[in-house]
Symmetry: C2
Subunit: 339 residues, 2 copies
DNA sequence: TTGTACGCGTTATCAC
DNA sequence: GTGATAACGCGTACAA
């Protein structure tokens, strides 16, 4: 509750002297008063009021982290990938001397309001945005914003961090093909608005084409990517609703659901069906069979995002505003060679 | 960027009139000026500066969510339980008209600094605190604080939300006993500072005693509760380092690790060993065998915490400051009857 | 080396 | 109904 004024009065100096001491501008103050004031600061447990500071400065030291609100009635933080990413971001924001405001939003309009409300210095989106949404957000916002897992080829203001989704789809499919599979399904939340999945799908398609395998439209399985959705698909697969020997699932949870659903109807992975996922969640190694999947480096993603954001906030020249991190195949037990 | 002043100038009225319109004090303003100002607000996209508001009001509309920093080098949000809880809290805070600041902290001192820095209205701790830490925090803080999963029997200021850990340990052990098990291990992060685990342990001990089973000190397995820790213990169990037929693990991840570790050394759950966990994470149903566990209602926990906090902030009379939610046994496949 | 005046955007108070 | 003034806590710019 103590303010600069209180300390100044007690010390018999002006407010500015106290302020200078606190902000480390020691060159402007005699060492005597410095120690005096430092004692008083401790004694009264002085803590600067950052709202006041934010008001009189350009900067608020606040970084906003945005996430989409519930999807399919689901708490977004139940997605282990999102949670881990968020945890890393929080740590990095704190270590950089900033404060993290977390907010789930429904529409692009809400974003700029929050940003202005708190005079936020920078923002990070941790769930995918459409290009349209990004453009609206960027147009209405003054501070730098980093978008994780979003694609935007047209807007030069867009700062993005993502992984090589195309390559992920490509190497996963290639691996299945190398193991003798020819009839391979793609399952995921495929739509025009979902650039991530579209990219993975493109990788899948190109891998097929390169190997001279004819693409069968029936093998695109449209679905949400929760575990429960996978169960349904797994059952369908076991019931031969699709004519395939392998499935590439665009998310680990979906893949795990598929494995379980197939099993429920007597189809055993990898013996009767091969499955590959995407993300490399910890729990891929907890299940049976352990899931072969495309792995990405979540920590590096968070590092890149915060680094890019801080650079933009400090107007540092950046080589590129769009970072694409590499992915690689994590071979485990859910794929089997066939003849 | 528009401020009250800008709007006032454009409308040819005073700042206060604009302020009154924005804050819905319509009784003090003529309907003409109301509509005029509302138009201008839209035109200039006016958004109130909450730092300024916080400065001139008692309240900041900010709620801080605290979590302990890394433990055992682990991002805390990799714990699915913590993540889900956090996601629910974020939603509730937002829906209540507040803004969430998230912060990981190492020591109790950091807490009051943040609280003062931002003039925070209320705070929630989502990871367990020792009674000492809680007392320090409460002593140094002015705003209401809710502690989730912490025990504090002595400090009347402490507002807490938890589950009936004792009962959890009790019913889990009783269930094992009912299935014919007599030699039962307890594994978890047992220590004097960890009240949660101590309670679960007490439940375990009492269940044994009630059934006339002699407690064997060797069967208390001290460990961290990560999956990897479970692996070690599972191996030990398979190698008959402990003379038991069943294990109660104080956390699901630990239980899953134990199952896997045992399997690696040829000991199959539930055939050769029965295991019960605690938390009922989603992934309990993803693994094989599906984990029998003690379940708690995370959503209800979040609801209770926010409700309690808001009541305290609004100085509403509360029947009890300490809520203990019920737990129940979720029977699945990891326990087998023995003779 | 230290102090003064002012402004940041908002609200409460009180007078008109 | 409406408006002037002070106050919230801090930092910048400048003066002493």
């Amino acid at each position: 509750m103590a303010t600069l004024k209180d300390i100044a009065k007690e010390a018999g100096v002006s407010i500015m002297t106290v302020s200078n001491v606190i902000n480390g501008k020691h060159s402007k103050v005699s060492s005597q008063t410095i120690t005096l004031i430092q004692e008083l600061v401790k004694k009264y447990n002085y803590v600067p009021n950052l709202s006041a500071r934010s008001l009189s400065q350009k900067s608020s030291k606040l970084i906003a982290v945005f996430i989409n609100t519930y999807e399919a009635g689901q708490n977004h933080f139940k997605d282990p990938y999102i949670s881990e990413l968020f945890g890393e971001l929080e740590a990095l924001i704190r270590q950089s001397g900033y404060y993290a405001i977390i907010r789930s939003v429904e529409t692009a309009e809400n974003v700029s309001t929050i940003l202005q409300n708190w005079n936020v210095d920078g923002a990070i989106f941790i769930s995918q945005q459409t290009e349209d949404a990004m453009n609206i957000i960027l147009k209405n916002s003054k501070c730098p914003i980093v978008f994780i897992d979003s694609y935007n080829k047209t807007n030069p203001k867009a700062i993005t961090v993502g992984v090589d989704d195309y390559k992920g789809g490509y190497i996963a499919t290639k691996y299945l093909i190398a193991n003798g599979h020819q009839r391979i399904a793609f399952s995921g939340c495929y739509s025009e608005n979902n650039a991530i999945v579209s990219q993975r799908y493109q990788g899948y398609r190109n891998a097929l084409r390169e190997s001279g395998i004819l693409y069968n439209e029936q093998n695109l399985i449209q679905t949400f990517t929760r575990y429960e959705d996978g169960i349904h698909i797994g059952r369908d697969l076991a019931n031969h609703r699709y004519d395939v020997t392998a499935v590439f699932a665009a998310a680990d949870l979906l893949a795990l659901g598929i494995i379980e659903g197939a099993k429920l109807n007597g189809c055993i992975v990898p013996n009767d069906l091969s499955v590959i996922g995407f993300d490399n969640l910890d729990l891929c190694s907890f299940v049976t069979p352990k899931l072969t999947t495309v792995s990405q480096d979540v920590k590096k993603k968070a590092d890149s995002a915060v680094e890019l954001l801080l650079d933009a906030m400090n107007q540092v020249e950046i080589p590129s505003q769009n970072i694409t991190l590499d992915v690689q195949l994590e071979v485990r037990q859910s794929v089997q060679k066939i003849l």
